[in-house]
Symmetry: C2
Subunit: 437 residues, 2 copies
């Protein structure tokens, strides 16, 4: 493959003659078949930690044992019922992680997605702060920065909300559009945000973006920002970290204390599915949530909360732990970025992001190529997130965006997968241009 | 207190003269004040395991450690995302516990109450099997065997359902009434059942009752039985166990395979709040549930599922574990029953149940006394479940039922509490009769 990587002329496709495109296609097909012959079975579809990352948290399994005292600082026995809001030391730790006062934190079960779903479901069945339950309204609209997180969109799709795509930029979503829609339309009840190391771009909202969010003047009194800070401490570089203005504090300063629900979890810190999730929000919102939550459960898993606290000890322990995660996955991100640059740079057929943290790289090919690229990669044994996933209702109107998840495969495998991916991108694009020329 | 217990004449209150009642009240007040002087702080309000019971499960904390292989039998890494329905070995174990095929089992998080709430919430927002979502209907009715479990009623109260009390007997709820209501009224969408060692009586449904449940002919196609088998293996006696016909199998035999959702958890087997909960239901119902659940979560805590499987090994291990629980709490139940018999037997002013398992004793005083008895006990430092709790909307029309939870206090404390309780019962009843005479 040396010839391909090193030898081929990296000429912008737009400048290629029909003959040159034909040659390019021929060479690429040969390369592609080589990969098919390798019988690959690689997965870069989901943001899953790899084995080396999971091994980092095995100490979690020793942080409690049969001789441990399973009492909290305040004397609560974690083994029995109670403590709807979570144990105080877990609220302290997660408060530090989320940059919020522990009193504004409510610890849930193992999944922040579940917390978000429940928040919407309860707004639907019982309304927000005395406003009409959403199930009694004819239409609910929801703002969806795009490209975005498929599982967010899946919830609002499930409830039948009209999802309005809002374009993303490196500073965050289009705030002019958001301010207009939120202030003019009472049917707009919420917005999905991944404000730091966004899914899939890895963008972090600029100071101005956060300031404008906190100063929204919603037409609907039950409008809320769903602020999913899933990657708050998930840096790739020590010296290139993004910083985000803390939204609860900014909302409070702006006189909008109840405007935001902020979500986070330890899913990509310890074990996905066996961590702890949390919401941070204003005292008013928390009071309302607890009045609902007490009908639903007696309390969440306090033993697992204590297990996490004893393992990390404090926020510094958690931050050091995240450095070890970064050491594992940084080379994978860099490998993908280098291969993309090497094989696609200067061709004028693709763009991709280079995040400082999070779990994804967002890739944009030429219009009308994403589905074909993903299909081509699949047929050579590399699984990618399905086309359209980053858009509401799985419909990318440009058919151009692909989410790349570099963390799960080994460095060797992600290198192979990324190379194949670039071949698929070039091949599909060249074929398209050839047909259209 | 010897005089009180041994020396007083146990004459039926109905046969007492006004003068005798006056003397009785005088003596009881003296006794009562003695207890007040003890500055008790005892709680028999909730069905919580005691410390000795919790200690039985400390081995759970050792069943996984940092050297353990956290892979399932099928190779799934429990530390990562996935497996919406739960790991196969947990479905196997809980299947044995619930007497159901593992393929009919879906493992959830830590709380069966949460599973039940979510089941109702999703029926409300999205309907059952293509029927109209309940939020679009004017009226939903729900059958509530009484006395029953307050947290069940709290859910259906929260959703604004009209709760119809159905009288309980030692063989289960009044099936004539249930058959009539279910078959005639499309608004009746469900019924709460605790079929074995019922909360609060400790009754188990007779074979005929279960057979009639499985043969219901609901007017509403989206009617479901909410079969909360919370105490399926929670026996107090080895040689006096209740047996229950397995409802899923009986429904299948009766041609009603989709009629029932069955719930259970390990909350009172290992640690309340840190166990695993599950639903068992038909393949059709499971398919529908999973199509909803995948929007809400990527999966539940598989590490905790594995922890439980490794701890118990199999259903025999779990059953042996429950014998140890029984050894701890049986003396408490017997102490309460003996004190009730000794201090209230033959007075004709109270009845109580003598269950073979579960967590409660149901007590019925004379009409109009429950609130006063609970208040009196509270003022001497003994906390009981609030009056009315065992009825929908906290309204016991007879003001007679009190749920007794003997498990949490020590044997010494529950003995003291039970004695005080009987004094309160006699005092309140005597005062009432005296005033009315």
């Amino acid at each position: 493959m040396e010839k391909f990587e090193g030898g081929m002329i990296m000429k912008p496709y737009a400048e290629m003659s029909k003959e040159e495109l034909k040659n390019e296609i021929k060479e690429l097909r040969t390369e592609y078949r080589k990969y098919q012959g390798m019988e690959l079975k690689l997965d870069m579809s989901r943001g899953k930690p790899c084995l080396d990352q999971l091994d980092l948290s095995m100490g979690l399994m020793d942080s409690l044992n049969s001789h441990a005292d399973l009492s909290c600082d305040d004397g609560t026995d974690c083994r029995n019922y109670g403590m709807l809001e979570g144990i105080s030391e877990a609220r302290e730790l997660i408060g530090d992680m989320m940059e919020n006062d522990p009193r504004n934190i409510l610890i849930y079960g193992n999944s922040s997605l579940n917390v978000m779903y429940d928040q919407i479901s309860r707004s639907y069945t019982h309304g927000v702060m005395g406003n009409t339950p959403w199930c009694r309204l004819d239409k609910i609209k929801w703002l969806c920065p795009v490209p975005g997180y498929d599982r967010h969109f899946s919830i609002t799709e499930y409830f039948g909300f009209e999802m309005i795509p809002v374009p993303m930029s490196p500073t965050g979503p289009d705030m002019d559009m958001i301010e207009k829609l939120v202030s003019e339309d009472k049917a707009v009840k919420g917005i999905w945000c991944v404000p730091k190391y966004s899914n899939p771009q890895g963008y972090s909202y600029s100071d101005e973006t956060v300031r404008r969010f906190a100063r929204l003047k919603p037409a609907a009194r039950d409008f809320r920002i769903y602020w999913d800070n899933a990657y708050g401490i998930h840096h790739l570089y020590d010296d290139h970290q993004d910083y985000l203005i803390e939204i609860l504090a900014e909302c409070k300063r702006a006189g909008n204390p109840d405007l935001v629900y902020k979500f986070s979890s330890t899913s990509k810190i310890t074990f996905p599915g066996s961590g702890i999730a949390a919401i941070a929000t204003s005292p008013n919102n928390l009071e309302e949530i607890k009045s609902q939550l007490k009908r639903q459960t007696i309390g969440h898993d306090k033993v697992n909360q204590l297990r996490h606290v004893r393992f990390f000890k404090n926020i510094h322990g958690m931050v050091e732990h995240m450095r070890r995660h970064a050491d594992v996955i940084r080379p994978k991100f860099e490998a993908v970025e280098n291969i993309f640059e090497e094989n696609l740079g200067g061709l004028g057929i693709a763009e991709w992001t280079k995040p400082n943290g999070g779990y994804f790289i967002s890739f944009d090919g030429m219009e009308g190529t994403a589905r074909l690229i993903i299909d081509r990669a699949m047929k050579a044994g590399v699984k990618l997130t399905p086309a359209g996933s980053t858009w509401p209702n799985h419909k990318d109107p440009y058919d151009s965006n692909i989410r790349i998840a570099p963390t799960y495969p080994t460095l060797e495998d992600i290198t192979t997968a990324a190379k194949l991916f670039t071949i698929c991108v070039r091949l599909v694009t060249a074929e398209k241009l050839y047909e259209e020329s």
